[in-house]
């Protein structure tokens, strides 16, 4: 079983991202489970959401403490929230940031930084980077097929908005695929 923990702020669509990644994983042929950290959802407050992936039925219901993957939607969280806590040594950290800085990631972790907010602003006209980061996750993790992510986005968003989100996700997918 592999586990993903998404860190964001209320309003950035972390729970939606977890749900859509789980849908895309299911469509890609594995068992998946997505759930929020059940906080009080306040705009701007730190939130978490989780996804599990497995070849077998998932029974575990506790939160994710030792993730294989983390996505940080907002790098300003890093000073307040221990986002790297428990991240596995061979894990992947995807951080949305304007400028690639030095992060204290555990040894062996593959660190991916990208300016997903810039891509989202260009493609959606909104600083909501969740779908862009989903593209990055798709390329980096290999857990889901890009086509499954696209159909999950089309299922969730109405026509033109879905296509804009897909374009944003594809840009991040290509960027990470090229070794950003």
């Amino acid at each position: 079983m592999r586990e993903l923990r998404i860190h964001g702020r209320g309003g950035q669509g972390s729970v939606t991202a977890a749900e859509l990644i789980a849908v895309a994983a299911f469509e890609s042929g594995v068992y998946s489970q997505a759930f929020p950290a059940f906080g009080v959802e306040r705009r701007g407050a730190p939130v978490q959401a989780f996804v599990r992936f497995s070849d077998e039925k998932i029974r575990l219901r506790s939160q994710v403490y030792e993730p294989d993957y983390i996505i940080v939607q907002d790098s300003t969280l890093i000073k307040d929230v221990p986002v790297f806590s428990g991240l596995k040594p061979d894990g992947i950290a995807i951080i949305n940031t304007e400028k690639a800085g030095k992060y204290n990631v555990p040894a062996g972790v593959r660190l991916i930084t990208l300016d997903a907010t810039k891509i989202a602003l260009e493609e959606l006209g909104l600083p909501i980077a969740n779908t862009t980061l989903m593209g990055a996750f798709t390329a980096a993790s290999g857990e889901i097929a890009l086509s499954a992510l696209e159909s999950a986005l089309r299922e969730r968003f109405p026509g033109p908005l879905a296509e804009k989100n897909i374009t944003a996700a594809r840009r991040a997918y290509d960027l990470v695929g090229e070794g950003a």
Partner: protein, 386 residues
């Protein structure tokens, strides 16, 4: 067909497939997504029910009581303080023997205010005359609704029922579920045949006052009906297994109990975590097993005595507290009663109150405590706060 969806939406799908005539509910976290989805289904014609909007939970269940008495299959959903607000009506629904089914998205009771999960709400209504089923995952949350209507509407039973599923942990989680086809559910669950109907042409009264010459017999018959509910649940569960391939043949489910030294007894979503913990414990040489209670009312006393006959210690995991009781949890004393005279040690462990996360390592630690004869205690307390 297997699909992935939120637990609340799986419950709404199940309710739609049961073809209720009347739905009445008042939104409350974490139940809201169920009733929002059902309202949507009624509005767009996917569900042919009357949806009665009300100003409170008290009115929601009162509407269901009236509609059921008039011969309609009825449904409601609530949680926590919403269920507490229904307390009076719950006893009336059961006493008038109306087979109303209600989903409980289990949540802690205030004060202090908590929107998070435990099972204090439904456990606190254990004596109301409703049967209580508890789901481990989204699939069971769905399937238990089909069973619940079959049990409730059987003329040997005629009692209302709760289908309990853990708030947030199941209600807000996306996971795969197998949604049965409408014709399959129609064959399993025929239209509601009421025993008595309120009818202006043939007037009868329900819930009249009973003098001391009559009252006790009503309560006796409800208790007898609850015993019948256990039989009907086993029958209907076997039929469900044959039709849909998922086994609900009893009030309990056994997991790796055959040669177990330590047995857990638990209800609801924590059972999944316990199963994973048991696999790890067994890999490390600890012979642990689980008896999952799918039904708390009727209480599966005979199943417990049979299934746990060979174990040395029993750890009852309780997401409730009966404040002031000797064992602390509500289920512990009943499990102990079921095992009376066997010499098996039975302990309650209060866990996960108000949404406190329960991890595999907690389960392993509780197994150690039970083996060391330490129990009837809170587990996972932040001792620095108390």
């Amino acid at each position: 067909m297997r699909q992935i969806m939120e637990g609340s939406h799986a419950v709404a799908e199940a309710v739609r497939l049961c073809r209720p005539g009347v739905i009445s509910a008042y939104p409350i976290t974490p139940q809201t997504h169920i009733v929002e989805r059902l309202a949507e289904m009624v509005a767009n014609g996917e569900c042919d029910a009357d949806y009665i909007t009300v100003e409170s939970e008290f009115s929601a269940l009162s509407s269901c009581l009236g509609a059921s008495a008039a011969g309609s299959r009825t449904y409601s959903a609530t949680t926590s303080q919403g269920l507490a607000f229904m307390f009076e009506v719950c006893f009336n629904v059961a006493g008038m023997r109306q087979p109303v089914i209600m989903s409980i998205a289990n949540r802690a009771m205030g004060a202090p205010l908590s929107i998070w999960n435990d099972q204090q709400d439904s456990i606190s209504l254990r004596d109301a005359g409703w049967f209580q089923l508890y789901a481990e995952d989204a699939q069971e949350s769905m399937d238990l609704h089909f069973l619940a209507y079959r049990i409730a509407e059987d003329h040997r039973v005629l009692l209302p029922g709760f289908v309990c599923f853990d708030g947030f942990i199941l209600s807000h989680t996306y996971e795969p579920v197998d949604v049965p086809p409408q014709d399959g559910i129609d064959a399993f669950l025929p239209p509601f045949k009421p025993f008595n109907v309120l009818d202006a042409k043939n007037p009868i009264s329900m819930g009249m006052y009973a003098t001391p010459d009559y009252y006790m017999e009503f309560r006796y018959q409800m208790d007898q009906a609850m015993d019948q509910a256990a039989k009907v649940m086993a029958e209907a569960g076997r039929e469900f297994s044959e039709r849909f391939g998922r086994d609900y043949g009893g009030l309990v489910e056994e997991y790796r109990l055959d040669d177990a030294d330590v047995a857990f007894v638990a209800m609801g979503s924590v059972c999944g975590t316990v199963k994973d913990a048991i696999d790890e414990m067994r890999a490390a040489g600890v012979k642990a097993g689980l008896l999952k209670l799918r039904s708390f009312r009727p209480f599966p006393k005979a199943d417990i005595r049979r299934a746990l006959a060979g174990v040395a210690a029993v750890a009852v995991l309780e997401k409730n507290i009966s404040i002031g009781s000797a064992m602390k949890g509500a289920a512990g004393p009943e499990v102990k009663d079921a095992l009376y005279g066997t010499g098996i040690n039975v302990y309650s462990y209060i866990i996960g109150l108000g949404g406190r996360d329960v991890r595999k390592k907690d389960i392993a630690a509780i197994a150690k405590a039970a083996a060391a004869q330490q129990g009837d205690m809170f587990y996972g307390l932040r001792t620095e706060l108390v």
